[in-house]
Assembly symmetry: C2
Homo-oligomer: 309 residues x 2
């Protein structure tokens, strides 16, 4: 059985072999997982030092941070010769939304009601466009021209359609709660409409990637602080990448044996085991113009149902 450090090296190899290396995306992971809980601002040089062992060199960090700034995720400030980067206002909102899902797996109980949007009265090209926008919001395709969402309200949907200038043509309906909430044909429909088989494949790939590390850590848990930081960053990065594709359907609509649940569990278990040593590493490697960053706030320790402090 491979040792934990070998598993971490294998994960780094895996990350580096992927083309293109999405350095910007990894830096977003770093901000969301490590920097935001500590205030959100950091010297560009600390970022470079942290991600170098993952195979992202300083030049790549610079161009990525530059791009993230242009895309209004980050905003920079120069103090003397050093540049410090924080999340921008809109960036912070998007981060919070996206990362909440990563650390808090369970969903509130589902009402059983659907919001349906019928697009038959839209001219074909506009229908295609509106359909794509609604799919971005997690709508699934129940039938040709019929989109469905289990949690977005009718009012929220109408607001979106208004923005798309389609509120005058789309027909938006809200169903009463079904009894049972999820019949067999409805589950099959959901599986098809949200392509759950493909999503399960992605979660399966995540599980295959990280299960060896979990086994090794269980065997012998003395990975050093840097390796813990690298493992934690790649763990959240890979999990987040799969979760981005996940429409976050209510639990009631998912298969009984659902890879997404297993993936969340594995992610939580590894995180709980290594987060502390990774924080020690961050204590010593993150800094702003005022010196080291503050310790993570209380909301950090609420991640994954509660972390040991």
């Amino acid at each position: 059985m491979p040792q934990a450090i070998e598993c971490v090296n294998a994960l780094v190899d895996e990350f580096q072999q992927r083309r293109p290396i999405r350095a910007g995306s990894l830096i977003i992971t770093l901000y969301g997982d490590a920097i935001v809980p500590r205030g959100g601002t950091v010297w560009l040089g600390s970022i470079s030092k942290l991600v170098e062992p993952i195979g992202i060199n300083e030049r790549l960090v610079r161009t990525s941070v530059y791009r993230l700034t242009r895309e209004t995720w980050l905003q920079g400030e120069k103090v003397g010769r050093r540049s410090y980067y924080s999340l921008s206002g809109p960036g912070r909102r998007r981060f919070e939304q996206a990362f909440k899902r990563v650390y808090h797996g369970t969903q509130p109980p589902w009402s059983g009601q659907w919001t349906l949007v019928l697009l038959s009265q839209l001219e074909v090209l506009r229908r295609q466009k509106v359909r794509e926008e609604l799919e971005w919001l997690g709508f699934g395709h129940f039938a040709n021209g019929l989109l469905a969402h289990p949690t977005l309200s009718r009012r929220e949907t109408l607001a979106v359609l208004q923005e798309l200038d389609a509120a005058e043509e789309a027909i938006v309906m809200r169903t009463e709660a079904l009894e049972p909430l999820a019949s067999r044909p409805l589950r099959l429909q959901v599986r098809e409409s949200w392509n759950l088989d493909e999503l399960a494949g992605h979660y399966q790939r995540f599980l295959t990637l990280f299960r060896p590390l979990w086994k090794a850590l269980n065997e012998e848990n003395h990975l050093d602080e840097e390796a813990c930081f690298i493992a934690r960053t790649l763990l959240i990065h890979e999990y987040r990448r799969v979760q981005l594709r996940d429409p976050q359907l209510p639990d009631e609509l998912l298969p009984t044996a659902w890879e997404g649940r297993n993936a969340h569990q594995l992610c939580r278990n590894i995180y709980r085991m290594i987060h502390h040593r990774a924080e020690n590493w961050l204590d010593r490697h993150l800094e702003t113009a005022e010196g080291p960053l503050p310790a993570p706030g209380p909301s950090f320790y609420r991640r994954f149902g509660g972390l040991e402090q």
Copy 2:
């Protein structure tokens, strides 16, 4: 301007020119309009005498009544050499259902709720079959695989699907009332889904056929009893034929200027003007083994919002 009797003759010509002459259907009209209110049983010979001037001879009456008996609309009884025919039990139920619509045009106010049936989980050939059956029940086609009904309840729909052995595969949803009840795209959708333009054409044809009679009767109302009987029978026959195609959508979903409303109004107005003399004709021409039939019951006089006695 043609006289009323010329209009009646033109209507008879019109009826006779149609091929095939649907004598059975006309006999059903006669039962529903004239015989049921008087007890529902009549000597076969009276039927022949009544419909002969419309161009249906005795032989055609016999074969039609024979077919209606085989199809369980009618049941026969022989007393001596004469045959007497009544509505059968199931026939009576179907009659009542069908004729209630003819004489009572207005619909109860609509709740604004839709029953939706999603057939995507049915195998293609079965989907086609179930779709056709639901369309018979007045379901409209909102999108490929999505049927909608404005008044049938979810429970009634599930019962139908159970009979079709499709309840385990179809997804039946009930929407909350929309606000407004009928938006512009919903009205357009309804017009498309129930092919209201074609239906309007059939009502238009009915209006064109009977408006001259109405004008003539308004001018000079002394049509004889037999002509009144013929006019009334063809009036209800033609109206019923169009109404059979009418899904009877809630008023809220129909166009503001709707030919169906005009047709009902014309039908009512002519009926009110001639029903009495037609009844006199029936008094003298309908008989059973016990002699002439009883006078029509009170429900007859509630037709079309109330008839003069």
